[in-house]
């Protein structure tokens, strides 16, 4: 099963209007599929904090957004997640492709890989790992309901077991 296709379809079915992202190899096909959807506005951001703020602006305009980034981008996103999204209760979906975890080849990706789960926990952001393609649709749907019920960002972690991880180029 192609997890990217299922996720793109499920995001569309769950009413997402905007996807802000920093390009990433693991999410590349997902982003390409989303780009083909007329109902979804794609915003390629220069860094992850900028993407968070764009999604918050879209929410103020009545739109539903998802952030797509690598795990290494979590550090770049935190000020806007705290001072804007959590601070004034703006929900969106955070889709994180794992870095610094099983199979990592880059030494300096490993510190954030170790820290990321506890950073999310410390922020009070509920995070759900997806290991199998057959779990993608139900997890996206459940996380969407949770985010918009709690009025907080909710994270989905795309594990290397699901995605195969990054290749070494």
């Amino acid at each position: 099963m192609d997890w990217s296709a299922v996720m793109a379809e499920t995001l569309k079915a769950n009413g997402y209007d905007m996807v802000a992202y920093v390009p990433d190899e693991v999410a590349d096909r997902l982003l390409e599929l989303l780009r083909q959807e007329d109902s979804i506005t794609m915003v390629s951001a220069t860094r992850e904090e900028e993407a968070v703020a764009v999604l918050c602006g879209a929410y103020l305009g009545g739109k539903r957004g998802a952030l797509v980034m690598q795990g290494s981008g979590l550090g770049n996103s935190i000020n806007a997640i705290c001072g804007l999204a959590i601070g004034i209760q703006i929900p969106f979906l955070i889709i994180i492709s794992e870095r610094g975890r099983l199979g990592e080849l880059n030494p300096v990706q490993t510190p954030m890989g170790r820290a990321a789960p506890r950073i999310l926990e410390a922020l009070g952001i509920q995070a759900f790992r997806i290991d199998k393609a057959e779990d993608v649709a139900a997890t996206v749907e459940g996380a969407t309901k949770l985010a918009f019920a709690s009025l907080l960002p909710v994270a989905l972690i795309l594990s290397t077991a699901l995605s195969g991880g990054k290749t070494w180029r």
Binding site: T41, A45, E50, A53, V54, Y59, G61
Partner: protein
């Protein structure tokens, strides 16, 4: 130019357009110049207002979205200029109140007090509607044009900091709902 007076003139040009102000003195002066339900005062995430404005402008093409940024704030998020230039939302008006100082933390100099030129950076990022204004008459003309002609507009306004001390009520979650209701997003 005096920022409080510039904001008073800007508000006279507005009808129901949303205005998003960066944290600190821009919020205080906007509040004093004229509180209205379409004003959004931010309290954190310094540097984010240009991006909040971009998201709102893309979400609501029926609205002309006005962003009141600061020089210290924008210097934290220069990449947003490249993103705005790339997506070209015609309904975004990004005004930078360039005082050359970090006013809210005590008036320390920013790099625009030295070598940095935000208008040149905006042009370099790919923005084509860039105005540099230094007095109230120029500010009002640029603001008036930016509210009716397609943008995105990037207006760098050289201003003096003001000593406004009136504090905006700190109730950001209430303000979010008030703002969303005022612009028809709830």
């Amino acid at each position: 130019m005096n920022r409080l007076e510039a904001f008073r003139r800007l508000l006279r040009l507005l009808d129901r357009e949303p205005v998003i102000a960066n944290l600190g003195k821009n919020c205080y002066d906007l509040f004093v110049a004229g509180h209205r339900p379409e004003n959004l005062y931010t309290w954190g995430a310094m540097g984010s207002v240009s991006s909040i404005g971009l998201g709102l402008a893309l979400a609501r093409p029926d609205l002309r979205v006005v962003v009141l940024d600061g020089d210290g704030s924008l210097l934290m998020n220069l990449g947003s200029l490249a993103t705005i230039a790339s997506l070209r939302p015609p309904n975004l008006v990004h005004i930078v109140c360039d005082t050359g100082t970090y006013e809210t933390t005590g008036g320390q100099a920013t790099h625009t007090a030295g070598a940095a030129d935000l208008a040149a950076i905006g042009r370099g990022a790919g923005l084509s509607h860039v105005e540099s204004v230094a007095d109230l008459g120029q500010f009002e003309r640029a603001a008036r044009q930016s509210l009716v002609e397609p943008g995105p507009w990037f207006i760098v306004a050289k201003m003096e900091g003001t000593a406004t001390t009136a504090k905006v009520p700190r109730r950001p979650i209430y303000d979010k709902y008030r703002f969303m209701e005022a612009i028809g997003s709830l």
